[in-house]
Symmetry: C2
DNA sequence: ATGACTGCAAAATATTTGCATATTC
DNA sequence: GAATATGCAAATATTTTGCAGTCAT
């Protein structure tokens, strides 16, 4: 078995999707993969990467994420309504937004329409399940206070 | 049976929820009720109402909608990610966004977690199901072209 | 008169666009 | 070298905030 570095693997991911493996794209993809749990905002991705790549711009982050979405390498999480958060596509899952701490958690839920192609005659391309409430951690903190 | 006008009914809805039945609130609530299917943006509500109430402001629309949400008279639909759309609360249902025409449709789906209070230890306060794809109407138009 | 509500103006936040420069194959 | 990608600056879009004036009891 031939060993490849992580960067080579990411490069392959981009090229096999017809995308030029630019340094910016590689870094953004790497960031998404290593921060799946955080469901980062564009801001967060930009802030993290501009430290290493001083010329990085918000525009590039937006461009790249939109390109990734078009190629199905990432998906937008629209749960908060006023900002977009991002996720690199792995397995289908739903999201839980904590309304106290604003964290987004992945949750596995057996969805009854996951394998339907149509609902009411509309063609389904994406399914998003969003739960909102108070997360485990915040509930614990609250209990501790009392 | 005593007959009441629609405006009296809306007024009752507001007062029984502890809200002063101001003209603006009545009109916004009426608009929401008569345009449930449209899932209007703040902009749309404002534009429609400012014709009748020239002093109406965006701020008031935002204030009012947030008040309604707090009282559970309306809910925010966060499906597009960059703008909020509104819905007046009736029965629980999911939403379908057409990515061609940008319309939002209500869809009835049997949700397996609708009566669960916790998932992975997180307390669930709201459940939102968002489907995206191409709506019936747009599919028909597309077929017609070929 | 008091407390709540409205609405203007400005600020804050988030995203998109035009275009000149740079990079990749 | 042609096509594509980057990134600055400016424009656009969306939501929030401060505050002064207004309205209903």
């Amino acid at each position: 078995m031939k060993m490849i570095t992580n960067m080579e693997r990411l490069k392959n991911t981009l090229t096999t999707n017809g995308l030029k493996p630019t340094y910016q794209r590689l870094k953004i993809l790497e960031y998404l993969e290593t921060h799946v749990d955080a469901h980062p905002t564009v801001e967060a991705i930009y802030e993290a990467l501009v430290k290493k790549i001083p010329t990085m711009s918000m525009t590039t982050v937006y461009n790249t994420l939109n390109t990734f979405i078009a190629k199905n390498l990432a998906s937008a999480v629209t749960i908060t309504g006023t900002e977009l958060r991002y996720d690199c596509v792995t397995t289908p899952h739903h999201h839980f937004l904590c309304q106290r701490c604003n964290k987004i958690y992945d949750v596995e839920i057996k969805c009854p329409i996951i394998d339907r192609n149509y609902v009411d005659g509309h063609q389904i391309d994406e399914i998003h399940g969003y739960l909102k409430g108070i997360c485990k951690q915040c509930l614990a903190k609250e209990r501790a206070k009392k």
